[in-house]
Symmetry: D2
Subunit: 241 residues, 4 copies
């Protein structure tokens, strides 16, 4: 049983009727719904809640945090970002979706600008599976096709992923590393590109399957954390002078 | 439920009473015994059986193959090696133990000599966990200590592992990449260093735990294999000339 | 001063007037010509020469070997392949071009099938730079555009590259890992996708620049080779029992 | 001709006569001296200079920055750290030495805590070469032995290095990833472990050779930086609805 918290900025849904029509329960609601079909306990949290819905208690009982943000990255409080980062390095899984590439939490964990090319032009995206042995693509075909999506193009300013799972082809001529894993400290991170707010991407069954698989993959490994700092020798050190 | 076949050369056990005393059921028997404690169906196979115990039927129903060999790598028939390789690239997990670094199957999958330094001197080995987030080290402490083992030292002539899980310290002054993962085709491979035949290494509970974890990690990802060869275009190609 | 040998199967040039018209001196001749503009000593070698032009003397004085083959991979003698492999693991650089993905030397160094999707349809290829810090892309823009090329598509059955330098977009809807580095033993390998025989790809100045850069990057690192085998302890091992 | 700036905190040298005796010109002076033997233009900069000696002009004309710090990481101004980070992502090489693992610049580029085990016990360190093909080990033997050094032990909380070059063995029983490369944005980073202030490590000729090699390896790749942000399509996007 995995405890997942789906965090969403939840601002487009307030401002834009197109988005509200597609996601009447919010993007977080849509994601929570399909995750709930699995052996997963799902909570949601949004920016405008106290502590953005990410109190110590919530964070400490979350195995995997899913993150969607776009308009209001700067409104996420630095101390919450720091707490989330500590939890990831301590073992909590993190799934960063789409425009979350520019979130404070992703940028601070990556150490790079996480910048990219982008375009909103109702164009076709095809996500090709690059690593067929990876659990994140269980049940997925050779590619996932999305009729209309926002384009994200290279160069994507991230560290070379520990594992590259998907590469996207875009109708307008670009490519993109669309599914990337990172292991940081005791935690596992998955960045997954699709999910622009004006398209029904999170209702796509294959996209849902990838996120479900990613929850399992990013779930914490159970072991005691390493000990840091001053250490007594395990073997005798000979006197030398 | 994972189907595991434990393959062992089973020659030291015939020739050397020291080894037979430690492993009266063979190294394969000892490994099969502790794997059987998990939700795993275990078979064993040995060099001197017809087809080395690795008939098409056995291979096709094996999810994860565990490999221990040393004295008689050259006696393993090339066509069996080729079948095992095909199965790995098709998705079967492979766990290569200790002196299996010089097996035909490991060398052909790595593409390098897989050579190393070695010494039999009853010396201490300490395997440090390098990647604390990896499922293969679930339940494992900061290091595993083995009072007496054979030394394997760098340079180990392997491709840089996709993930480096353990690094060994040896009393005599060397280090070694002792736990290495590789993803090849649709299959996952784990190389794990310890297990010289004259020491009771495979009775060590932490070593057992690592191998149990590795069975889960290398188990196949369920999906259709990619299609190769000539491909029709998915998009219109404009006439140019 | 780097010593390069450009090896070419040189069969299309004999059979197909289209290819001969594009490459009157052979693909090897075209590549040798532009490499000769740099501080590089260039030789060529072809399949139909004795020992395929790859005598011990040639191999031992070659710093970087460039490989183009397609129709006749099977005609390359296994013992020559073995010698080339030994030289690469001993430090010689290797640049594998285009259909060389299916050469014996590339497959044996990779350990996988190296299979892929392909199509000849006069379609556009755009190679995007993924790793802007890499010396292989010095002087190269954001992408290289080739008006007409053969398509190679994922899944490309190779080990995850040590460094992924280029990703291709194809007009017909596919993507491909087009520039991949591998370090194997003491040697460095670069696979570079473009160069179908019926297009003038090797006259493209940016393609030439990439291959020139790759020669410098794959050139051997000067040091003594590691020592393998039985090793005396560097530190005292305490008697235990 | 490469322009290097050697940055040193330069505090131990003021407070501790042991350190001053070993490094009468400061650690920065010692490093600058041996780098000056190569085709390198060397400057030095220290914490107590205005802007820590890292004005825009200095940073903009620096190809590779070498960083040594320990006691006073917190006194390095955040805005200078931000400028250095920007320069690294823009292409400047960065070599982080020893206790620089805890510098603000290294931690922000890595995204992790960069914590480790440590011990000052006059013990032996042996740095084994793991990647014999890498230019950073040109001219280096199988290992570098340092009679007395501070111990740094795993787990070292860093991202898995893009390339692992050295692994250290310590007399007291630990191991450590001692030479690690990272490519971030347009820049290349090398972390190199040895160099505790109370030992004459930077006079060791092999240590010097590694740092000289690393300067060449981290030197910028000459090309225009990628363009980010909104991008016009390169191909026609069909109207759909």
């Amino acid at each position: 049983m995995i405890n997942v918290t789906v965090w969403n900025e939840n601002r487009h849904e307030q401002k834009n009727p197109v988005v509200r029509d597609i996601y009447p329960e919010g993007i977080h609601g849509a994601i929570a719904n399909f995750l709930g079909e699995e052996d997963i306990v799902v909570k949601t949290a949004t920016l405008d809640s106290p502590e953005h819905g990410l109190s110590d208690d919530v964070l400490n009982t979350t195995d995997v945090l899913v993150w969607w943000g776009h308009l209001a990255h700067d409104e996420v409080a630095d101390e919450i970002v720091e707490k989330v980062k500590t939890r990831v390095l301590d073992g909590m899984g993190l799934i960063v979706l789409h425009s979350g590439h520019f979130s404070k939490i992703f940028k601070t964990l990556m150490g790079t600008t996480c910048d990219l090319k982008w375009r909103e032009a109702d164009e076709k995206e095809r996500l090709w599976v690059i690593d067929p042995s990876h659990p994140i693509v269980e049940g997925i075909g050779e590619y996932i096709e999305l009729e209309k999506e926002e384009m994200y193009g290279e160069h994507f300013d991230i560290p070379a992923p520990d594992q590259l799972i998907f590469m996207s082809w875009f109708e307008g001529g670009e490519v993109f590393r669309s599914g990337c894993t990172y292991q940081r400290g005791n935690g596992k991170i998955f960045y997954f590109r699709p999910g622009h707010e004006t398209y029904p991407t999170y209702y796509n069954k294959e996209i849902q399957r990838v996120i479900k698989n990613a929850v399992k993959w990013t779930a914490p490994t159970k072991r005691n954390r390493p000990v840091y700092g001053n250490a007594k020798p395990l073997e005798e050190i000979k006197a030398k002078n």
